[in-house]
């Protein structure tokens, strides 16, 4: 598996999820297990730059892909701009959903930069949609936060999207 730029050999049963492989085999416990059924987004990681729910992925399906977890977001000792924004804006309380929120936001911003629309985009063919709070909330709806830190999360993403 190639995770955060490092290739490691792991021996897994086919039923092991990508989430369990990351946490149990590779010791990368930043990625969290919330619902384990694709409903909460806590397990979000990036695969070739695209966000997915690692709980519904079998690890064997991803042995030839580039996986990025929250541990891989920082640039050396420098936290990712989104990580710094989350701290500044109180984008978290307990922190359990945060790694999923961060990976999801990174994926979301690159989808947006590529011109992807969302369900609240007024004109579907627009490729330069302004990331309003409504757009951010819709595009981030796959990540639940039971503490209700949504206002801080939206503010953090807004700040990084349009500095």
């Amino acid at each position: 598996m190639r995770v955060n730029g490092v290739t490691e050999k792991v021996d897994l049963s086919p039923q092991v999820s990508l989430l369990d492989a990351l946490r149990g085999e590779l010791g990368l416990t930043g990625t969290k297990k919330g619902c384990d059924q694709g409903a909460c987004g806590a397990c979000t990681v990036l695969v070739d730059g695209e966000r997915i729910n690692s709980c519904l992925a079998l690890a064997v399906q991803y042995d030839d892909r580039d996986i990025t977890t929250v541990e891989g977001l920082a640039d050396g000792g420098e936290a990712h701009p989104l990580q710094r924004a989350f701290i500044r804006n109180d984008g978290l309380q307990c922190g359990y959903c945060t790694s999923g929120q961060l990976c999801s936001a990174v994926g979301m911003l690159s989808e947006h930069a590529a011109g992807a629309p969302s369900a609240v985009t007024e004109h579907l063919c627009d490729t330069d949609v302004v990331l309003s709070d409504d757009e951010i909330r819709e595009r981030m709806s796959g990540n639940l936060c039971r503490c209700g830190a949504y206002n801080g999360i939206v503010a953090s993403i807004r700040e990084v999207a349009a500095p």
């Binding site: 695209e50 729910n53 519904l56 079998l58 994926g107 969302s118 369900a119 579907l124 063919c125």
Partner: protein, 331 residues
Amino acid sequence: MKTFAYLSAPDVPSAVRAISTEPGAKFLGGGTNLVDLMREGVEAPDTVIDITRLPLTGIEELPDGGVRIGALVRNSHLAANQLIRSRYPVLSQALLTGASAQLRNMATVGGNLLQRTRCLYFYDGAAACNKREPGSGCDAIGGFNRGNAILGASESCIATHPSDMAVALVALDAVVEVESVRGTRRIPLVDFHQLPGTTPQVETALAADELITAVELPPLPLAATSRYRKVRDRASYAFALVSVAAALEVEGGVVTGVRIALGGVATKPWRAHEAERVLLGAPATDESFQRAAEAELAPAVARSQNEFKIELSRRAIVATLRRLLTEGGAA
């Protein structure tokens, strides 16, 4: 999760060969539904044939102006495709209202068509469910059935088909291409999903050894003026209570072309033939829209908790057509 043998198919011929020799095998695409059902014990294949490496990821314009979509195109990629956004906006919108961005990045077009119902009793191994265990009964009929079907149901099963994408596709006259060791065949999507009748475990026209390889959209100029309206319990990331896919063409105040399909209310993606019949040639007015909706919903059967869906469907149909008339499509 029950243990299973895993193999990854490099191409279509080896995928269909593998499933023809492994009776207990299942194809695995994005996994968003199958992995979950395997974890719950509802699905327990002996062998999983991973098809995500098959070269079925293209979206191509056809010489006749239609579009061919590979079965492994991700839901997110299809929604963002400019050809789809401009010519078939209802499909793009339907996809974007389905699931979450993470799930749409995993889910495939073929897998979306084959996803199973989210009826609570189908998931609950302790409950009676004719779909999960034929002959065991249906606990939804006398139970928590707020989300269940009002159209196309039977006394065996009232489970809804959960897809948004398929609702748009069935409105657009899509055709499913399938492959097996016996060759290739094409199934109009409107005939692909089956009504439950007395055999709710049989959900599609697909044979156990067939692989969906593509979905084709015919050229359909009126689809440029189309929209998807989804009504649900929360603003995002929820299954439909009611959804409407519609395309409308009006000339001189008269409806000259119309496509309507409903989601969240029926046992399969529901093409509203009756509503279309009423509308074609009728004046494009609220009154016609009302009549069309009422005609479609006349055979609706409510259960103990879902009677609201009849009125909600009627209003959603009328509102969607009215918006198409006054504002045009979503493109």
